[in-house]
């Protein structure tokens, strides 16, 4: 009986470990979205800074949503066989999807009601991204993503207490580290795994 329980626990642990590895790999395959959104943030920040057009953020974010959705659809069509969703994959998807909806509702509402300034904007976006990266990093036991969450949380606090320049600087640095660098790292991680699989096949 004790042997059976031990065996069951071992099987369960192995299943969890394999799910975590699979989940980390799936996140790696989505690494391009981190880079894509990082670039979209830079475009919006640059556009606002140089042109001072009040709709720059809204237009850039909506365009980014449409392009991102089109790329995902295109990728799904090109895949020969759909792989079933894993529990960890669904958990990560649900976290990012819920964050997207929350930000898409909150930020325009704050903007249109005139309750916004740069510091509040950066603090909210950084706190939300810290939440999503932290949840995903904890679930996947992925130190690089947990480190990204910490960078976002530091950006949240600096945005509240720092000057305008410090707020902009920390936001640009956090986007670079947590979107571009982490996204490229995730893409390299996934391509290495794919190459390893191809070698073993």
């Amino acid at each position: 009986m004790t042997e059976n329980i031990d065996r069951e626990l071992k099987d369960r642990l192995e299943l969890i470990e394999s799910m975590i590895a699979e989940g980390r790999r799936t996140t790696g395959s989505w690494g391009w979205t981190f880079v894509f959104w990082g670039v979209a943030y830079y475009v919006a920040i640059g556009w606002t800074a140089f042109n001072r057009w009040p709709w720059a953020w809204l237009v850039t974010m909506m365009a980014a949503w449409i392009v991102c959705w089109a790329i995902i659809r295109g990728k799904q069509k090109n895949q020969p066989r759909q792989t079933p969703a894993t529990t960890i994959g669904r958990a990560i998807f649900s976290t990012w999807a819920a964050m997207g909806v929350s930000l898409a509702l909150l930020l325009p509402a704050l903007g249109f009601s005139g309750r916004f300034n740069q510091h509040i904007f950066v603090a909210i976006v950084a706190a939300m991204l810290g939440l999503a990266n932290g949840a995903s990093g904890m679930l996947l036991r992925w130190k690089a993503q947990i480190a990204s969450a910490f960078v976002w949380w530091v950006a949240t606090v600096v945005a509240c207490f720092g000057s305008d320049e410090q707020c902009t600087g920390v936001f640009l640095a956090a986007i670079f580290l947590c979107q571009i660098v982490f996204g490229v790292y995730a893409m390299i991680f996934e391509s290495r795994l794919r190459r390893l699989e191809a070698d073993h096949a």
Partner: protein, 198 residues
Amino acid sequence: MTRSGEEQELKERLILIESMIAEGRRSHERWGWVYVLWGVANCTAILWTALGHFPYAWPIAMITASVLTAVLAVRKTASRPSTTLGRAVSSIWITLGVSMMLLFPALGISGRIDEYIQISVASAMLGMAYAASAILLRWKAQFACALIWWGSSVFACFGKSTPVAVVYLSAIFFCMIVFGVYGMISDWRARKLEAVNG
């Protein structure tokens, strides 16, 4: 592997996922008391601030609720093994707690917040956590709560002081206290059924 073998594997995987979701929802119901505790803590802080005009009402209420949650959670989880779904849901709530505990004191101390922004941002963040958990557990009641939070978030940006407070207090009542009690009753019923079935 043959086609029928692949289909069988997929079917088994789906059955496993379904059973994990059911287990996850059941274990989430055991945490119904946390929703009630935080609902009461929020209401206490709001009333204390409104009636007593005490500036430290929010920090005291939130820290007390955090300590109580941590102590009771440690006692509850010590005897149970963690599941993947349980870890997924707990990671969402833990990081929500960290984000809120950093964001709101920082905004408050730096003087960059007013009651509208506080309600709007808190509702949006709670909406996010409720929605993520609801999609994961396929739980309609929890998703309905997420919609209420999101509604409260948008309303706080455009509404006037009293209606905004009423909507926020109603959201706390329905999404924390009522939803938490519903979870506790479901858990109590399931436990009674288990006891009857041996």
